[in-house]
């Protein structure tokens, strides 16, 4: 089966080359070549799926003859989800994932545009094919240069009896889907980028390329949003530092295309409606795609220190060359088409939706620029001064918080405005309820949450209240207007209004979700109670209005995962609440013995990776969160003594003495079990981080609402038939007016 996968993958590279050549021939007007290139993209997709499938089978069969399987899985790795998802824990696997998702997205867009955009499509196909050539070429280059580790079917000799297993940091269900979500988000931005390039080359620069690829940009946005949220959730529940966003370079790398992609999704509406911002839109999608590649580069190059450092590799330079080529080539193309990119109209009034879209775009791009500067500052500072220094969270927060507040305010104002211009009386009427709601939100935050001491949080609550009220008002007013026309009940009117204007109201729901998310961020970061405690079993401490008691230590051994877990039972009471909560944080240590000579069976657990399991009780208003860091210093002597005995024993074993080795392994297992029990009996002190995070539930809920809103906007209508019926109605009306108009 490996041979089938390897053959399919190599032929995929050749097919990608054919896609480019045939598409370029198709641009000369011969539709047969264009059709052939489309079929080649389908073939490319099928070949890459075969390669992925055969690789997945190798993981399922524990086929350690493949280096990729031996390095990222083991016989004890759970099949679901880790064996199936271990593929993208490696470089070769993630490159294959990139190419495969690209081929799926390219096949989908070519199937959807079949028979349409026949000038633009061959160019767009050539661009998508070019990107596919790059990634499949990078993979195939691993055959000639095994050191690059990009060929997923590289064989291992001699074949080990056991694999190394998955990186412990990736052994979390969220990590199984977080990377493919981010990658798929990056990849889906290829489609609008390719069509933008096609539109630039053919000078078909009206809104039709946007109409055909808008959904792909929105899918990319949804995937990136989910990917970012999963990463944040993983960080919150696995890394043991108590937060969800650390301004880590790789997190930032995914945030930047999300920000510019959000700007793009707004600004294309202005081009569709008003024929404006054409230069801006093509520039924005080029930037978004380049930032998507930069995200891949940062994960894979290891150029910046990151918790994602497992991605370090040699594919950084080719990715950087690709990014530079795309930026330079696209810029030259845009400059050469400036005459065709002129706007059809100008903004009629500052009090219009399109002018606020411009403000929104400015803020989003400014935010992306801040994140870019903060992310790459270590490289810039090293280049200029020779010393590497990085910018920490306070620097990011100083700039991103005010921009974020301004963005949230614009998200609230935008829905209240009409296209072209809105009357003064209209603005006054529209602002009344949201302003009152904002004042109420501020007052409540002041009185109930003591927000007076946190002015930025107070402003965020006020603006979030404004935005949520603005969106709610839009929905209710729209439903009321529809009810007055149709006489339907209000709820039915609301349902039909949203169903008929999915894109508009889906967008508003996204705004409401973002506002809810900001409430969660503001409350959890400004009013968090955090205390680092050092407690012995039986001891308790007071933290705000909570009593925290370290009841007892716990231990467990997972021989399949070769891990040792030390944890704690912690009882927490809140003043005035009748029942306590029991939390069980732990720290899991993964042995590096499988990669060493087995001479230090105890210490090997503390020289490898370790992960935190958080003890947490989630609620709508507060999230009680604990992490433990066992103090192992009192165990050091025992550990050294036992390990020394085993090291001496190993020296005495004759090579090839299987029975002695088997006995040694059994004794080591017993020693580990006794050591774990010793930890519990010895009951050393533990460092416990105790956090109370208010309203953090609303951070996750807000993201969920935003994703639902985006899905609503994405959901197709009842098809072209209804659109045609509506169009015909308008056509008939317009025709009548044309016939009755003078001259």
């Amino acid at each position: 089966m490996n041979a089938v996968g390897a053959a399919a993958l190599f032929v995929a590279f050749l097919t990608a080359i054919y896609v480019v050549v045939s598409a370029l021939l198709g641009t000369r007007g011969d539709s047969r070549w264009a059709d052939s290139s489309r079929r080649a993209v389908y073939a490319l997709c099928a070949l890459l799926l075969i390669a992925v499938l055969s690789l997945e089978l190798a993981f399922l069969r524990d086929d350690f003859s493949l280096a990729l399987v031996a390095q990222n899985s083991s016989t004890t790795t759970p099949t679901w989800p880790y064996k199936l998802t271990a593929m993208w824990g490696s470089q070769a696997g993630s490159l294959l994932l990139w190419a495969t998702v690209l081929s799926i997205a390219a096949s989908a867009v070519l199937a959807m545009t079949r028979g349409h955009h026949r000038e633009v499509v061959p160019w767009a196909t050539a661009v998508m094919g070019g990107i596919a050539v790059f990634f499949t070429g990078l993979i195939a280059a691993g055959i000639a240069f095994p050191g690059a580790e990009t060929w997923p079917f590289a064989a291992l000799s001699p074949v080990p009896v056991e694999g190394q297993g998955l990186n412990p940091l990736l052994r979390h269900p969220l990590m199984a889907i977080h990377p493919p979500m981010l990658y798929a988000g990056y990849v889906f931005f290829t489609i609008p980028f390719a069509f933008a390039i096609g539109a630039l080359i053919t000078r078909r620069l009206d809104a039709s390329w946007i109409r055909s690829t808008r959904r792909f940009a929105l899918i990319a946005w949804v995937l990136l949003t989910i990917g970012l949220a999963l990463g944040a959730r993983w960080s919150y529940s696995e890394l043991g530092w108590g937060g969800y966003w650390a301004w880590d370079p790789v997190e930032n790398a995914a945030l930047m295309p999300w920000l510019t992609g959000t700007a793009f999704l707004h600004s294309i509406m202005v081009q569709e409606r008003r024929g404006m911002l054409r230069t801006w839109n093509v520039s924005l999608i080029v930037l978004t795609f380049a930032l998507s590649l930069l995200g891949t580069f940062l994960v894979r190059s290891g150029i910046l220190q990151s918790i994602h450092a497992f991605g370090e590799s040699k594919v950084g330079p080719p990715l950087l060359i690709l990014i530079a080529t795309i930026l330079i080539g696209s810029t030259l193309l845009i400059v050469s088409r400036l005459g065709d990119l002129r706007s059809e109209r100008r903004i009629d009034s500052l009090a219009s939706r399109e002018s606020f879209f411009l403000v929104n775009n400015f803020l989003l791009v400014a935010l992306a620029a801040v994140v870019f500067w903060g992310t790459f500052f270590p490289l810039i500072s090293e280049a200029l001064s020779g010393e590497e220094s990085s910018l920490a969270a306070p620097w990011f927060n100083r700039f991103t918080t005010p921009i974020g507040i301004a963005l949230l305010f614009v998200a609230g104002i935008g829905p209240l405005l009409a296209w072209r211009r809105v009357s003064l009386a209209g603005i006054r009427r529209s602002l009344m309820i949201p302003t009152a709601a904002a004042a109420l939100a501020g007052l409540l935050a002041w009185l109930l949450g003591d927000a007076g001491g946190e002015p930025l949080a107070l402003v965020l609550f006020v603006v979030a209240g404004f935005t949520i009220a603005s969106v709610s008002q839009e929905l209710i007013r729209g439903a009321a207007a529809r009810r007055s026309l149709t006489g339907d009940p209000l709820l039915l009117s609301l349902g039909r209004l949203v169903a008929r204007n999915r894109r508009r109201y889906g967008g508003y729901v996204v705004h409401a979700g973002i506002a809810v998310m900001f409430i969660g961020i503001a409350a959890s970061s400004s009013f968090q109670t955090s205390e680092d405690l050092r407690l012995e079993p039986g001891q308790e401490a007071r933290v705000a209005d909570y009593t925290v008691r370290y009841v007892e230590p716990t231990e467990s051994i997972d021989s399949a995962q070769q891990s040792l877990t030390f944890g704690a039972v912690i009882e927490v009471w809140r003043d005035g609440e009748p029942e306590s909560m029991i939390l069980a944080p732990s720290r899991e240590y993964f042995s590096v013995n499988s990669q060493s000579d087995g001479a230090a069976p105890l210490r090997s657990f503390f020289e490898g990776e370790a992960t935190s399991e958080i003890g947490r009780q989630e609620g709508l208003t507060t999230d009680v969160w604990t992490a433990i860091q066992p103090d192992l210093s009192s165990l050091d002597l025992v550990m050294t003594k036992v390990d020394r005995q085993f090291a001496q024993r190993i020296e005495q074993i004759e090579p090839g003495d299987v029975e002695a080795m088997r006995q040694l392994a059994t004794d080591q297992g017993e020693a580990i079990a006794r050591f774990a029990q010793f930890y519990v009996l010895n009951s050393p002190a533990a460092n416990i981080r105790f956090n109370v995070n208010p309203f953090i539930f609303w951070l996750w809920a807000g993201i969920g609402i935003a994703v639902l809103g985006a899905l609503l906007a994405l959901w197709p209508g009842s098809g072209a038939r209804r659109r045609e019926v509506v169009s015909d109605i308008y056509a008939a009306r317009l025709a009548r007016e044309l016939a009755s108009s003078p001259g």
Binding site: A6, D206, W419, G478
Partner: protein, 97 residues
């Protein structure tokens, strides 16, 4: 083994992608350009209809006053009529493929 499988895959892909190339005659570039013009106009028409609908909704919600609405609505309808007549012209002069 890999070489044999690769050869089979290459032949299969070649047969699949060659199907359109065996077709006699290709659509004329002029017909392709005309079809693209038609699609551009269709896209503009749908965008204009959406703009008219949005303006009606905004007016019904009180964002636009009566005078502005009448003027904007008349402008939008005139633009829509222009697009419709351009569409008619395009359809009547569409070159045969």
């Amino acid at each position: 083994m890999e070489y044999l499988l690769a050869a089979v895959a290459i032949l299969s892909v070649a047969a699949f992608v060659a199907v359109p190339l065996r077709r006699s005659g290709s659509e004329q570039p002029a017909a392709i350009a005309a079809a693209a013009d038609l699609e551009d106009l269709e896209a503009r028409k749908l965008a204009k209809y959406r703009e008219i609908r949005d303006t009606e909704l905004d007016h019904a919600q009180g964002k636009i006053d009566e005078q502005d609405f009448r003027r904007q609505d008349a402008e939008l309808r005139a633009e829509a009529v222009e697009i419709l007549s351009a569409l008619d012209d395009q359809k009547s002069t569409k070159p045969s493929s």
